[in-house]
Amino acid sequence: MDLLPALPVVLPLLVAAALVGLAPVCPRPVADAAAVATAAVVTVTCLALLAISLDGSVVYWFGGWTPRDGIALGAAFAVDPVGAALATLAGVLATAALTFSWRIFEAVRTLHHGLMLVFLAGLVGFCLSGDLFNMFVFYELFSVAAYALAGYQTTNPGSVRGALNFAITNSVGAILVLAGIALLYGRTGALNLAQLGQTLAPGPPDRLVMVAFLLLTVGFFVKAAVVPFHFWLADAYALAPTVVGVLFAGVVSELGLYAVARVYWTVFSGPMAGVEGLRGVMLLGAVTTALVGGVMCLLQHHLARMLAYATVSHVGLTLAGFALLGPAGVGGAVLYLLADGLVKGSLFITVGIVDHHLHDVDERRLRDRGRHMPWAAALMVAGALGLAGVPPFGTFLGKALMEEAALEAGTPWLIGLFVVVAALTSAALLRATGRVFRGLGGPSPGGSGGGAGSGAASGAEPGYRDHHRHAHPTQVAPAVLLLAAAVAVGLAPGITGVVETAAARFTDRAGYAAAVLEGVAGPGAGVSHPPVPLAAPAFWAVLSALLGLGLALAALAPQRVPGRLRDGVARVWGPVAATMRGLHDGGIGDSVTWLVVGMAAFGTLLAVVVR
Amino acid sequence: MIVLEVTVFLLVAAAGTAVVLTRNPVNQAIVASFYGLVLGIMFLVYQAPDVALSQITVGAVALPLMILLALAKVRALEGSRRRDDDR
């Protein structure tokens, strides 16, 4: 029996088919239980794979086609700690989301569970795969399930529109990925990541390699929602049902970044090692994404849309870690990504609870209507602190590692970016918390001032089964547990060493190739790194949380801000806000146009730095 | 042989362009069906009969059919909407 690495993909697919086939006769509680149990088993399996892979990569050749003379005949899963950790994240979020939806979401028969499980299988397969075309297949698998899930809420008109933009823009991204694969295949006659890397390594970064890198990176950046490939995201994430939004915001965008990093380190790091300017190009994308996302986050009043732009902004932050193109940055980025995904998942569930109880998700209309929900307020504040990256959340340690890497790489200004961005996103959430749960901030001119009945039209999910005044444990527990997990990730004993070893293996192209093609599964070079100093990062984290709090309070009570300062800020902020809003006002045509603009710009920058 | 290949390539490029430039979706579905067929022929030239068979069944038949059905549905919806307005 040799199934373990394939199990987290095979099991959900099998259960999905069974649930759909048995839908007419399967009672709803059984379907619920089966779906949650399957997601839980997937999580545990991925965790086991993570533990095993710490001692050496797990390579699993489907069909038993082990490579001959360094040529891969089949497709393989190549499980390393980074991939397994992300797969675990997907499993955890899916389990939480399905538990949350247990009592809330009235599915159209049990088809919804089938889609969720296929979605999960796609995410996990994508994380574990060691073959470029196989990655593409799983990428499309989770994408197609995601398109269907995003537009699933057919009674909310916006969700269909969001799903259309999501599906078309992301399909264009997938086409670019496939074109990149075709280019690489034409050159090397290989699809296995390790074999691709081996074949390309001795060569120069010639035009084919550059353009293949461009196509793959842009294609995956669409999924990651790196600016300017992010215009589809807000509608798709914010208007999707909560249960789906948890996975969207928590792991899907992150996987776009993971894919770029994975493909870079296994395939392109050989020929492109000498391209000095690549770091600068990637950092430019990171900074733009982080700032645009942060500003847009602050401009939102729709709670889920706020989280959607927080996702964009933190994708930028994480990309900054990857963009340093070294193991230290990768380690920090991966840890940050895991903790941040858990925090955002928890926040999405909290917003779902608010929506469920108050039938609205607009901060202005909800003013002071959340007073009887102190636990929801607590969850929001904790989530905001998690986003700000204060200790003891895992986001803190992840950011500390990235800051350390930034100092080593000679880009200390990144620390400033981290502080600003974390302040922006946590400010938006704290402002909303103050308004909804404490009634702060006067009735805003744009809002309807808390009209009780007016809300149901915009955000409320239809199909609720029950309308208890008190949240059911299956709603609150997932949010609390996700936050707890976000803390645990950062406090786990020896986590820094584990992260550094995992990152060293992730960035070791030759080691990866040896493990996959020759079955030499040795752990990478042991990393003995001096302990990461945490005092300065803690200072920066607290600073950004305080900045966020200050911003939130200033937004809630502008009359308390000294007049001259207020006018000065308004003079700058007004035009910025107007421009940003205007840019994000478009539909499908705009998204695709920006995609092509981004591709042209990225290509031009690459060409400049290679010369 | 070369002449045949070049002809097919140019035909594919022209047919694909025609699909995009046909702005009326009903006509477009028919042009797309033709494009699917031309692509299928191109794949035969490429010695990929498996792919050609897929392309013809999907691109020239199933997909255009789905498009026409979707359009018929939209028209039916429009009809019922108009009737509702009249009332």
Binding site: A182 | F9, V20, D50
Partner: protein, 114 residues
């Protein structure tokens, strides 16, 4: 001739994207997306094509006959299925959008301001 099919593929990709960007009808945009997708079929099959090769089917010809690459054939098969299913899903979404908004014009389907 050395690069003609590659040029055709690039052309179809860009023409398809042009169609999406300028489209005033969602169904039209979806068909344009399938044109853009078809560029990848051509690209994949082109890189695996070998002049003078037979199809990789050794029923009537012996193994060892000069043949084209079977792998790109398998990849393109997958690609075609993906393209068709995504189109079907998009068409269903478009029908839904028409139902909710009464239009298939993407210009009139823009997100509301927050």
């Amino acid at each position: 001739m050395r690069f003609l099919p590659y040029v055709v593929a690039a052309w179809l990709l860009l023409v398809g994207l042009y169609g999406i960007v300028t489209s005033r009808n969602l169904v039209h945009a979806i068909i344009c997306l399938s044109v853009a997708q078809s560029s990848t079929y051509i690209l994949l099959l082109s890189v695996g094509f070998r002049r003078g090769g037979t199809a990789p089917i050794f029923l009537d010809v012996p193994v060892g006959t000069r043949a084209v690459d079977p792998v790109v054939g398998a990849l393109t098969l997958t690609d075609i299925v993906v393209g068709a299913t995504v189109s079907a899903l998009l068409l269903a979404l478009a029908v839904q959008a028409h139902k909710h908004h009464g239009t298939l014009d993407p210009e009139r389907l823009k997100p509301e301001r927050d």
